[in-house]
């Protein structure tokens, strides 16, 4: 089971791996004509084992494809320093980050940021409009900020501010709920942002965002 997952992951990764990361095809590999991550490139498979084929996200592990490189690096250092202490971070990512050299982390971050992201599209469609209104305007009377100013008009993120568009509904929802339970308090300003959101508003935002790809976003 594990073995199959890993093989499929490697195949799909190898499809995406282009540019400086793809070196000579590996002769022992069944599909030797496909470009493969360089033997001396970052250890992508150590991550895609959990984060899914071509890093599109799998189960509780979020999509890394298309995520901002500077944000990935920031989170890896927050796992290493234990500032990001969400239950699943402790369970999985603390160990991973502890065993990762910062230079390797940077190479992986750049690599994943260049993979084209696909939208999870797993939220409640019926909440799309409500979520979009919240995302774009906030609710000034209730001190709910607009997300646009920081995460961008297409929820694409910038520098170390993450892309949100197309992340999975369950991940987005859990992340906002966990700020309200006191986890990852150093991720300013998000604990302060989430504090003002009701469970229904979190649901709407997570639903809306899960559908966003470059096309739906600009509408």
């Amino acid at each position: 089971m594990k073995h199959i997952g890993l093989t499929v992951a490697s195949l799909v990764i190898s499809l995406w791996a282009t540019g400086p990361l793809c070196a000579q095809p590996d002769a022992s590999y069944p599909l030797a004509l496909l470009p493969l991550p360089a033997a001396n490139g970052p250890p992508v498979k150590n991550c895609t084992y959990c984060h899914g084929v071509s890093a599109q996200g799998l189960a509780t592990a979020p999509r890394l494809a298309g995520q901002r490189a500077a944000y990935i690096e920031k989170e890896l250092s927050a796992f290493r320093g234990h500032e990001r202490d969400n239950p699943l971070s402790q369970l999985y990512m603390w160990n991973v980050a502890a065993n990762l050299k910062p230079e390797t982390g940077r190479e992986l971050a750049v690599y994943f940021s260049q993979l084209p992201p696909r939208a999870a599209a797993d939220g409640n469609r019926g909440l799309f409009d409500e979520g979009r209104a919240l995302y774009q305007q906030g609710v000034p009377n209730a001190n709910i900020v607009t997300c646009v100013v920081c995460h961008g008009p297409n929820a694409e993120g910038v520098r170390d501010i993450p892309r949100l568009g197309g992340l999975s509904y369950l991940y987005l929802k859990r992340r906002m709920e966990e700020w309200n339970k006191g986890y990852h308090p150093t991720a300013r300003p998000m604990p302060q942002v989430a504090r003002e959101l009701s469970p229904a508003e979190i649901d709407a935002l997570a639903s809306y965002l899960s559908f966003l790809d470059e096309e739906t976003a600009s509408k």
Binding site: N143, V145, T146, V148, V149, V193
Partner: protein, 212 residues
């Protein structure tokens, strides 16, 4: 010649500030109390915990050390739509004018180091700020904004402001703020913004953005 022009403007602004200050001190006192602290924390989500501004997808300007009279003018103009910005328009309409004074005083009292981040010719910027560019009809900024760029009354502080916000603002003045906002004060900046080139704007933004 330019300096005299600036000083005249300064006098009329000082007069205007006195009038506005008198008109608003009463309401500010009435507004202090419940909800103001929550509102301030809401402002700080975007403008930064210390009020020093934040580089989001868009640059969110520094409010720390800003002149209270200027902050109040801008909130009023955002709320009425005279100053165009979709984000701050919504924000300002959600703030009771009775609390403007307390909110402005809070940010005025903050004094963090500048966030920085400008890329321009600082030496040229210093020269423009102190002496203007007489050959292209650009007045010395210091005449109105003060030699230390801390502003006064309704004239804004520029020291420590985010350079990319300053560049955006100076390059877009007429569409965003050219509608006789702030009781006509924004018109004072129109010729200046039209006469500066992009490189000169970047230079003066980099210079004042680094000032404490």
């Amino acid at each position: 010649m330019i300096a005299i022009h600036g000083r005249n403007a300064l006098y009329s602004i000082a007069l205007a500030s006195a009038v506005v200050a008198a008109g608003f001190s009463g309401s500010a006192v009435a507004g202090a109390g419940g909800g103001v602290q929550d509102k301030i924390e809401y402002c700080q989500v975007c403008h930064g915990e210390t009020g020093r501004g934040f580089y989001g997808y868009y640059a969110i300007p520094r409010l720390a050390g800003q002149q209270p009279g200027y902050i109040e003018n801008q909130l009023r103009d955002y709320a009425s739509g005279l100053r165009h910005n979709s984000v701050m328009g919504g924000v300002a309409r959600g703030v009771s004018p009775a609390t403007y004074g307390a909110i402005a005083a809070h940010f005025h009292a903050m004094n963090p180091a500048p966030l920085g981040g400008g890329g321009g010719n600082v030496a040229l910027g210093r020269e423009i700020f102190a002496n203007g560019l007489p050959e292209s009809n650009v007045p010395a900024c210091s005449a109105c904004h003060g030699p230390d760029a801390h502003g006064t009354g309704q004239i804004p502080r520029l020291a420590g402001q985010l350079p990319s916000y300053l560049v955006k603002t100076l390059s877009n003045w007429s569409p965003e703020r050219g509608h006789s906002s702030a009781g006509g004060l924004s018109a004072l900046m129109v010729p200046t913004t039209h006469n500066l080139t992009a490189a000169q704007i970047a230079a003066v933004a980099a210079y004042v953005g680094g000032l404490r």
